[in-house]
Symmetry: C2
DNA sequence: CCTCATATCTTGTTATGACGAGTAATGACA
DNA sequence: TGTCATTACTCGTCATAACAAGATATGAGG
C-alpha cells in the first residue's frame, strides 16, 4: 500500500535553499520516520517529479545525495530502495570527539594538560606544510566521557593559530567547532592512520589504566576545505572503552 | 565543432563505457602524471566542454566524481583545482587485504587454519540477518606479508556459501574477489568497528608475537550491493606491523 | 507447458538552454 | 585616492528532451 501518486508536496522555488536540498530533506524524514519502509518501496523518479512538481534532474540530485548518505540504493532497471541498516549512518563523517558524542547524547568534558610552543620534528612540520624551522603549538588534552578518561589528544597547529586556540574554552568545545564557527575556517577532509600500541607510564596515568593496557592510536591530519593541512593530531584511545566506527564503500571495477 | 584553443581530445560516443567515465579517466591520468599541477590549474567547465566536445552536464558528472575521489576540489565562482595530497588516495575504498597490498606492490599469502560450520552466537546470526538457529561457516585464516604473519581473519558467512568458499584457493585469493569475479556477487558497503586489545595465547601463537602484545581488532560487516549483509569478519592485526589508513570528509552544516 | 519476442516499466546517460550566485578585475565617479 | 557599479568570468541549480539499457510482465507461437 502507501501508493500515493496523487499526493502533492510543496517545495518553495524562491527559497534560499535549493529545491533538491528541500526534497532530500523531505525524503530523508520519510525514511527515518518509517513512512518509507526498509528494503523496498520508494516512488520512482517520475512519480517524485510529479508529486514535487520538479524536473527529473532535480529529483536525481536529491536521490543521488541520499544514496551517498547511505539511506537508499538504486538498482538499474528496477527502482530505488530504502537501505535497512540505520545502525551507524554517516560514520565516515569527520567529527570532533565531543561533536560525535553529543550526537549520541553523551556529555563530554576536556582537561587541558599543557599548551606550549615546540620545535616540531621534521615529520610534523612537513605534514603541516610548514618550513622546517617554523614553530608550532602543541596542545595536550584529556577527554572525559561520564567522568572517565577516554582519550589523550595531542594537537599540533601553526603557532599563531595555536596561541589563539589556547585562549578558548577548550574544556567544553571541540577545536573543530571553534575553527569553523568562531574563526570561519572551513574544514575539508582528514587523513587517518590507526594502529594499536601499549600504554606507557605517561599514557597510563592520564587514561587511568594499567601500564601495558591496549591503546588505539590514531594519527589525524585535517585539511581546510581548500586543501591546506591545518591540524595534526595524535589521539590515544583506551582500547577497553572506545570503538572507532566507520563505513566504507566498494568501488566497482570499471575503467581503472 | 571545429574548436581547439589549446587541445582537442577524442572520446568515443559509441563506446560501451559512458562519456563521463572516459573523461574522468583522462583527467585523472593528467592529474596523476602531473600534467595538471597541484593546487591550481584545471580548465574551466566550458573549456572542457569545448576540448572534449561534450555538454556541460557530462563534464560536471566527470568532475563531480573526481571530487568525490578527492583528486580535485571546487570553489564557487573561482574554479576547479587539483588537490595536492596524493599520499593515500581512495583509502575509504572497501578492499580485501590482499587486494590492498597488491595495489601497493606487496605479495601476500594466506594460510587456512580451519573451516567448519558453527552454531552462531546470537550476535553473529543477527548481524548476518539469518534465523537464530541457521548454521554459519567459520573460516579462519592467517595472512602473511613478506613471510611474516600480519593478521588473523575469522570470517562468518551463511553455510552454503561458506562451504563453497572453502573449496576455493583461499591461499592466494581474497574472498572479496572470489565473490565478485567468480560468483558474480556485487559488494556494496561495509561497516567497521575498530578497537585495540591484547594478544591472548592463541592469537599470540598465530601472529608470532608475545602474549600481551598490542593487537588492532576490526569487526567488518560487508553488504552486497543491494544491501543484504553477506560477510562478517573479525580481523586481528599485529599492532606493530600494520596501520589502517583512511580518509574522512567534513560534512558542512546545511539543513541538517 | 515452455520459449521467446514485445511492450512497458525502471534507472542511466547526454544534449541544450537558462538563470542564479560567488569572485575578481575594470573603470567611472566622488 | 578611495569607493562603488559594471562586467566578465567562474561554478551551482533547474527545466525540457531524448535515447540507452536493465528488469519484468505479457502474450504469441512452438
Amino acid at each position: 500500500m502507501g501508493n500515493d501518486k496523487t499526493r502533492k508536496d510543496t517545495v518553495l522555488a524562491l527559497s534560499p535553499v535549493p529545491l533538491y536540498t528541500q526534497i532530500k530533506g523531505i525524503l530523508r524524514d520519510r525514511i527515518l520516520d518509517g513512512s518509507y519502509q526498509a528494503h523496498q518501496q520508494m516512488p520512482s523518479e517520475s512519480e517524485l517529479m510529479a508529486s514535487f512538481g520538479v524536473s527529473r534532474i532535480t529529483v536525481r540530485q536529491a536521490l543521488g545525495d541520499l544514496q551517498k548518505e547511505g539511506l537508499i540504493f538504486k538498482i538499474h532497471g528496477k527502482g530505488t530502495y530504502v537501505s535497512k541498516p540505520k545502525a551507524f549512518q554517516n560514520a565516515t563523517e569527520l567529527m570532533g570527539f565531543g561533536e560525535a558524542m553529543a550526537q549520541m547524547g553523551y556529555e563530554t568534558f576536556n582537561r587541558l594538560i599543557s599548551s606550549k610552543p615546540v620545535a616540531p620534528g621534521a615529520a610534523i612540520g612537513e605534514r603541516l606544510g610548514l618550513a622546517a624551522d617554523a614553530p608550532v603549538m602543541e596542545l595536550k588534552r584529556v577527554r572525559y566521557l561520564n567522568r572517565a578518561p577516554i582519550s589523550l589528544d595531542v594537537t599540533y597547529v601553526e603557532k599563531a593559530l595555536g596561541e589563539r586556540l589556547a585562549k578558548e574554552d577548550l574544556a567544553h568545545r571541540d577545536i573543530f567547532l571553534i575553527l569553523e564557527n568562531d574563526y570561519g575556517i572551513a574544514l575539508g577532509r582528514a587523513d587517518l592512520q590507526i594502529d594499536a600500541m601499549l600504554a606507557d607510564r605517561v599514557l597510563a596515568k592520564h587514561l587511568e589504566v594499567e601500564e601495558g593496557a591496549p591503546v588505539l592510536r590514531i594519527e589525524r591530519l585535517t585539511y581546510t576545505a581548500d586543501g591546506r593541512p591545518l591540524d595534526f593530531e595524535h589521539l590515544y584511545y583506551r582500547g577497553d572503552a572506545f570503538q572507532y566506527r566507520m563505513r566504507t564503500e566498494r568501488i566497482h571495477p570499471q575503467e581503472k
